[in-house]
């Protein structure tokens, strides 16, 4: 057994180490006494470091020995080492005084360390929470970080980190509880809007009180109880966890006749008006407002009023102009009665069937109409605000902005036809007229300006381990063996072939020599075109991610041997649709191609239909059993001259249908989180993937390609 050092022995060593800063009035004996109480191992550690530090500065070493016992009391040895190193770092950079101060403040350091250890930062959880919220609510709600936890009903804001509890697990649970509670606020209509004023009921109600702060606190606490009782039915496990998280806080209201008073908010059909009525009761009583629970977040009435106002206006306009378009399209292609729109009689009803599924019914002049998907979504959002569709929304907008955009220049481009070399003309689908606009778009193929191919090398270095993985998994794909029957040589005997030639053997005829089974490589016979969005909106992160994706993908495809081509696309207006050659089918993946990949830059807009038509034509020329067209994009089709909204989507959809008829499989990889609203309509329900995190794109694209083609 090793024995601890006695105080005398320690003092001897300290005298040696700290001699320069000791004096008759400042001896080492006090320090030695302190150290003598430590374990042997700790003593050695302290003396070792005292020696190391004294070589830099004896006073620092003195301060260290003076506080090391506190250090050991508060932290384990690894953290004590961290504390020493940080203090020495401060000494090196700022000098003796701050350096020794940071040794003295060992308690602060230890506290900070333990807090940091258990705190959970937003970035670590946002991916999980996004999926969690999507799963629980079935909606794509945006989650952002902010100083406080709150929601404006469109976005859930969560703090940049949670360090409420001294356990990571609990802090994560707090994130989840907070996120779900804020979700419940939007789901159960805490901020329902008064259709008469366009302002949430709660904002108006709170403003009436002399002490709005107190009123808001009472409201938050009542609404908290209402939401909990609603959540209890759906998410009992979470409500239990929430109870455990806020166990320390005293959130109980104690007044006479409370349970009768709170009865309305315990019902499953309670709404925010019940909470507001109870607030009115409680405000005038002398009660202590309970503390809010740790997961409650804050209610920022001003911001909510602002966001709601903007949304209400926007949605009203959108709903009414959609309605106008719907009415017009129902009136048929006969465009002579344009002036009469706005006079249609519109009614709207929501039917709830037994299963709780609600179905929206729109009646135009007594004709039931099925709402287009994005309009149904607007309607849903409006219903979430108001509880219904208010009457004034049901008046179609007058001659919409939308129409004017499109009619701005309608002179046919015939005269310029075939004048310019390298120019291609394509039709475009006008969904309202239900026919094509002939030779509407002019497309040029351009070379991308090559940049330094070193960029590609840098990307390969960055992802070196990944590139290895990708190669491996694609090699496995290539080696997808097939049993080739009836071969002249091989690893095994083909019983079927033997049996078939049995009569020949029996009768002494000549027997075929194709009696073996060989495992051979499966001919993939696949051609794929990648069509990369180079619109202005891809600037920055997205463009980088696209470039990295292309590099990794090219590596993968090189391994696989599939024939592939890469094109970038952009443009502005129908007169200038541009396709950038990055790699054609004929070219090999060489330094020129690498330099072009390095040179991809964001350009202007995204007019997708014409590009799809052009690439379809190119793909058909390639002789392959399977042809695939993969779009990598960041948003909806969008161009300057009215090619947006439904028009753009419908033309793109039409172009994709043409491609499908030509035997091409279109597929889309997007990073637009709204994509679920329109991509199923354009590409079909299974032919797209949303990559929620741009940084994940490079890894995902190869992965998706692999899944897609096996």
């Amino acid at each position: 057994m090793r024995r601890q050092l006695r105080a005398v022995q320690i003092e001897e060593k300290l005298d040696e180490l700290l001699g320069a800063v000791l004096s008759p009035s400042r001896t080492a004996s006090g320090l030695a006494r302190k150290l003598s109480g430590l374990e042997k191992e700790q003593q050695e550690f302290a003396l070792h470091w005292a020696g190391v530090i004294s070589r830099s500065n004896s006073e620092m070493a003195y301060q260290f020995v003076d506080h090391v016992c506190d250090g050991f009391r508060l932290m384990d040895m690894d953290d004590v080492t961290k504390w020493i190193i940080e203090a020495m770092d401060v000494y090196d950079r700022q000098g003796l005084y701050p350096g020794s101060a940071s040794l003295r403040e060992v308690e602060t350091y230890a506290a900070k360390l333990s807090q940091k250890r258990h705190s959970v930062p937003f970035e670590d959880v946002v991916g999980i929470l996004n999926k969690y919220v999507k799963g629980v609510s079935g909606r794509d709600l945006d989650i952002q970080s902010d100083a406080q936890a709150w929601t404006d009903t469109e976005t859930i804001y969560l703090p940049t980190s949670f360090k409420w509890f001294d356990s990571e697990q609990l802090n994560f649970q707090l994130y989840k509880a907070t996120g779900t509670f804020l979700l419940a606020q939007t789901r159960y209509g805490t901020f329902r809007v008064d259709p008469n004023t366009g302002v949430p009921f709660v904002c108006a109600a709170i403003a009436q009180y002399r002490d709005p702060t107190r009123a808001l606190r009472i409201f938050e606490s009542v609404e908290h109880m209402r939401l909990l009782s609603l959540m209890q039915a759906e998410l009992p496990g979470l409500v239990r966890q929430m109870g455990e998280l806020s166990a320390s806080a005293d959130s109980s209201l104690e007044i006479d006749g409370l349970s009768e008073l709170l009865e309305p908010i315990r019902r499953p059909d309670s709404d925010v008006m019940d909470s507001i009525r109870i607030l009115n009761e409680l405000y005038h009583r002398n009660i202590n407002v309970p503390e809010s629970a740790c997961y409650q977040g804050i209610v920022d009435l001003e911001k909510i009023r602002h966001v709601t106002r903007k949304r209400v206006d926007r949605e009203k306009e959108k709903f009414r102009s959609d309605l106008a378009m719907l009415a017009e399209s129902l009136a048929g292609p006969d465009e002579n009665n344009e002036g009469e729109q706005g006079k249609v009689n519109v009614t709207f009803a929501v039917d709830e069937d037994d299963a709780g599924e609600s179905e929206m019914m729109l009646m135009l002049d007594g004709q039931p109409v099925v709402l287009p998907e994005d309009m149904a979504q607007t309607a849903n959002s409006i219903i979430q605000d108001f509880g219904e569709i208010p009457q004034e929304y049901l008046v179609p907008a007058g001659d919409g902005q939308y129409r004017k955009d499109l009619q701005a220049d309608e002179e046919p481009p015939e005269e310029k036809k075939n004048k310019t070399e390298g120019m291609f003309y394509y039709d475009e689908w006008d969904f309202r007229r239900r026919h094509y606009r002939k030779n509407w778009c002019e497309l040029r193929e351009l070379d991308i300006h090559p940049s330094n191919e070193q960029v590609v090398e840098a990307i390969l270095n960055k992802y070196s381990h990944l590139v290895r993985d990708i190669r491996k998994s694609f090699e496995a794909l290539r080696g997808d063996n097939k049993m080739l029957r009836r071969q002249t040589n091989g690893d095994d005997i083909d019983i079927d072939a033997i049996v078939e030639s049995y009569p020949d053997i029996h009768e002494g005829n000549e027997v075929t020599d194709r009696l073996f089974i060989k495992s051979g490589r499966l001919e993939r016979n696949l051609a794929v075109v990648f069509m990369v969005d180079l619109s202005g909106s891809t600037k920055g992160w997205i463009n980088d991610a696209e470039r990295e994706s292309l590099v990794l993908l090219s590596e993968a495809l090189q391994t696989l041997g599939d024939r592939y081509a890469i094109y970038g696309f952009s443009g502005m207006t129908r007169k200038r649709c541009e396709l950038y050659r990055i790699k054609t089918f004929e070219e090999s993946y060489d330094s020129t191609v690498k330099a072009r990949i390095a040179g991809i830059k964001p350009q202007d807009y995204t007019r997708m239909g014409v590009i799809i038509r052009h690439l379809t034509r190119k793909l058909i020329e390639v002789d392959a059993r399977t042809r695939v067209l993969i779009t990598i994009s960041d948003g909806k089709p969008d161009d300057y001259d009215g090619y947006r909204g439904e028009y753009g989507i419908e033309d793109t959809r039409q172009a994709l249908m043409e491609a499908k008829h030509a035997g091409i499989h279109p597929y889309c990889i997007t990073i637009d989180s709204q994509a679920h609203d329109y991509l199923p309509h354009m590409y079909g329900h299974v032919n797209y993937t949303v990559v929620s995190d741009v940084r994940g794109l490079p890894l995902k694209v190869s992965d998706i390609y692999r899944k897609l083609t096996t």
Partner: protein, 268 residues
């Protein structure tokens, strides 16, 4: 010989099947009119169970073939074997079903090699015959014969698509995960769980299905929910049961795993 085999394929006990819509009537009239049937739907939503039920209801033998990518035409139609120095023809499952006038169910047809799907073409139109190339026979299907194939339109691979020339011979029945109420009663029947657990499991299923397309390839199927329910009845804690039979089965991605596990812990 065939008689004995066909009896092995018959289903004697009524399988539990809760209809989602009018699929039973549609299937019956397709069968009556000699129209082959295509079942579309995600994995584990009850396609195979439906076939067992229909076979029982029609009192016909059910020959099921799980298709794989090495399945050849002769695997389906039949082949010669050598018996005692003589070659002897042995029917494949499809030929057997045609001879006895039973139901042939080709599960996950797109997995089979493309040349295989062509073999079923003459059976799937008004000829209703199976040419057996090797013996030179032409097997005419009796009225009671029915051909049913299934495929999952949710698979994204471009190489596994059903050709128009194949699919346009079939009557298509679409299957999806049952409505909440129905799925709940299926769980209660199949696993004998109480109403509360069944309804919570169904809600869990719906939550995972919400994640389809944003992280998950598929949400939890009814079959997985039944598994979880059975474990719970057996005495496993609900969270462990969900984790083992649903969460871990659906994904390997750590982020998805945590998100789905948290959904479960919010529910139970």
């Amino acid at each position: 010989m065939y008689r004995r085999e066909s009896e092995d394929y018959s289903i004697r006990v009524e399988p539990y099947y809760a209809p989602q819509g009018s699929e039973i009537e549609l299937f019956l009239s397709a069968h009556r009119n000699g129209i082959p049937v295509l079942l579309k739907g995600p994995t584990g939503c009850g396609k195979t169970r439906f076939m067992e039920y229909m076979a029982w209801k029609l009192n016909l033998p059910l020959v099921t073939v799980a298709c794989h990518d090495d399945l050849t035409a002769s695997d389906l139609v039949g082949r010669y074997l050598i018996v005692g120095g003589e070659t002897q023809w042995v029917d494949g499952p499809l030929a057997r079903a045609v001879r006895v006038g039973g139901i042939c169910y080709l599960d996950e047809i797109v997995e089979a090699r493309k040349d295989t799907t062509v073999v079923i073409h003459p059976l799937a139109d008004n000829r209703r015959a199976l040419p057996v190339e090797k013996t030179g026979e032409l097997l005419h299907a009796p009225d009671s014969f029915n051909l049913t194939i299934s495929y999952n339109p949710g698979y994204q691979s471009v190489l596994k698509d059903l050709k128009q020339s194949t699919r346009q011979r079939f009557l298509s029945l679409e299957f999806d995960y049952p409505e909440n109420e129905l799925e709940q009663s299926i769980l209660m029947h199949e696993a004998k769980v109480d109403r509360e657990i069944a309804s919570t499991l169904v809600r869990f299923g719906v939550m995972t299905r919400n994640l389809k397309g944003s992280g998950l390839e598929e949400g939890a199927s009814t079959r997985l929910l039944v598994h979880a329910a059975k474990l719970i009845v057996f005495g496993i804690a609900p969270l462990d049961a969900c984790n083992a039979s649903i969460t871990q089965t659906l994904t390997d991605d750590p982020e998805n795993l945590t998100a789905i596990r948290e959904m479960a812990s919010s529910l139970f």
